[in-house]
Symmetry: C3
Subunit: 303 residues, 3 copies
């Protein structure tokens, strides 16, 4: 889609994004299955700079999906490790004072080396330091953004991709699904990210009752999952980490879809076995390990 | 009770604290049940500034009890979020250098806006930095303090509420239950906190074999729980976090009682199912989710 | 063994290290069983300065093994607590800026008071800050080093105990077990550590498919464990923490052997019950609690 408000934005008529018809969805499913298989086979490293609340679950989820995890905070650590990491994950929860300089520095280093990364704009809009950090990423943007509807809207607003008017409107109306309110902001954000990458490939994933994934052009809706996901901390963060794991082996749209679909299927398996949020988390990690590439790729995808 | 040693301290003859007779205990039980119900119904946000060891369990316990969690460390984050948070939780384990300035600043902001918060004085008495931070809270005190006996005694001593002589005495005698040694310090601490709040309501909870909760006047003893609570890390911290969750919807005494009672009941359920500390923690989170308001409020309360 | 390259290194002909024959192995097994029993009986405190990813598992594993845990980062906290801690554990994952000064300061304080500690040189060789910190420990070395083969080789190289040539050689050949490549570096490292302690006792543990423990003279191989250990984060870190727990009650060689053997037996129990990495971790903590001193000490030990 065209994004008139952004000079950085463009469409690549030659890109290979699926167009949403039956054949493309078949092709997309094959690429999703391949990504899930490739992670299990090659155990790719995805490095994380993430919050202290859910850092353990992020690492365990990446391992359960078949990848390898490394967590770091110092720019010298991160930049050293990025050279052997297929993709990185940055989550801006639980900020410490030095992040204000460290995170922009890391994002610039990633951009300089065209290193792929996933941004989780946790709590976007809250706190002066977080806002400064998130604003700085506009000049060195990620390959994928994953968040809930309000975070995606806040980030798109912060980067001037939608007007404050557009941003505030959804809050004023009762939308059937809050994720709906983020469709346009998510598409504009994905188009902006896409225009910022060398090969014009990027994606935005919005987590909600029905997840939404877009490459800026097409929008995919992924139903399913479990309401217990909101009753454990880190469902979203660890999905972000696993998205980076898939990004290490696949193009952004495929990575975002594969990770969200794996999570929905695993959550359903876990819910069926759980007696509460404690056992749900245990079964979720087991299911991330046990759900097959075919189950992930065979999921319902509404396009 | 009167607290002659403290000029800040007073009794409010008009306060609505229960007097401990049968009718009041009935009323108290109703208010406890209501608090447990209100949390499940309104999913209140309680924000935490807590240690890195158990931060995940604190959040998961708050979610399992029915609340919502947000964890932050930067003053701008905390103060922004406090405006939408029903109560806050501060735990002084695993200090970092910048906490020395950040924590007093946060406490002052809470005081300025009469924001309710729970203090967990982990390891009170150990380390120069922790002592400085805990001392500073005397001028901007919390609504509830929750700790073990030695932490409550150390804090009351640090704030000059009991003499060093009174503080050291318990260590010299073999008390039947170490929590007994903290009764007077806990009452004096609660009276001091109460006198520092606009509506003269505060509480202190002492965790031990038999938990003790006081509003400065009445003392309630809560038997039960499980010895396995000491074999997982964060039983106390997460109880502190859940206390803040209840404080978001209830007065301090009711919040402290509800949280401690919920924990004792959940621990008993979990112990019966556990095969060791690993499964105990899983079952504990499930039980925090499954224990009913009636089970919490129907608990044995010795007053 | 003699270590010609190091002036700090020496052999103590009078030391009580086992010589590897049948009688000594019998004696060693008795000392291992005693260490496991002593921890369960005396619940010794081992303090940790460890990474944020696995800090919760480290504490829970120490508790499950029967010990007590305390986690700190500020030098004043650590040094205060070390006076009541039987041994400390330092893990250099997830560095923050202030660690560069704090960690060398802590190591110097430990050396000054002959305080026993275990070093986990996580990611040795990655990042300028980590390298500076690890280099600084040469002048104030730990009692035990526990790591994987590449970390042990990197540390031994960094401290000049092996030549860069020796260090790079293993990477060039396909060793049957990567732990084999670390035998000489581990022995030289243990001999160096041993020469740095007042009573000439130290150990190095190399985790891998078959674990390896050495006091610088003898090498013990510990088969068993589970491949699922690599599918959860913190198996190695928590083994390091439990090694410190045993070090609080036993000599270094016995502590390193007891911890590694306990982990292998517990991992086997957990694997038999697990349905994936989520339940594996739960069962692992239960098994650390349930495996008996006799089971640990009766393990296969190849010397």
């Amino acid at each position: 889609m065209s994004d008139d408000s952004q000079t950085h934005c463009c469409n690549d008529a030659d890109n290979t994004n699926p167009t949403g018809d039956l054949n493309d969805l078949t092709d997309l499913r094959e690429r999703i299955a391949q990504a899930v298989r490739d992670v299990k086979k090659t155990t790719p490293l995805a490095q994380s700079f993430t919050n202290f609340v859910t850092i353990n679950l992020v690492a365990n989820a990446q391992l359960a999906a078949g990848g390898t995890a490394a967590m770091s905070f110092l720019p010298d650590d991160i930049i050293d490790t990025a050279s052997i990491s297929g993709a990185d994950y940055i989550n801006v929860g639980t900020l410490l004072p030095f992040y204000k300089d460290a995170l922009p520095q890391i994002a610039r280093a990633f951009r300089k080396s065209d290193h792929k990364w996933v941004l989780d704009p946790v709590a976007a809009g809250i706190g002066k330091t977080r806002t400064e950090i998130l604003r700085s990423f506009r000049a060195a943007p990620p390959t994928i953004v994953r968040g809930n509807a309000s975070e995606i809207i806040a980030l798109a607003t912060m980067w001037g991709l939608i007007s404050a008017d557009e941003a505030s409107r959804p809050a004023g109306v009762e939308s059937v699904d809050e994720v709906d309110a983020a469709i346009e902001p998510a598409k504009k954000l994905a188009a902006f990210l896409s225009a910022s990458t060398p090969n014009n490939q990027a994606a935005v994933a919005v987590s909600g009752k029905v997840d939404l994934v877009t490459d800026g052009e097409h929008v995919y809706r992924l139903p399913g999952g479990s309401p217990l996901m909101e009753k454990i901390t880190g469902a979203g963060c660890s999905l972000g980490g696993v998205t980076a794991t898939y990004l290490a082996v696949a193009e952004p749209l495929v990575a975002a879809l594969a990770a969200s679909l794996l999570y929905n299927r695993a959550a359903e398996v876990a819910e069926a076995k759980a007696e509460g949020p404690g056992s749900f988390q245990v079964h979720l990690l087991d299911a991330l390990w046990n759900v097959t590439p075919e189950q992930v790729a065979g999921s319902e995808i509404l396009s």
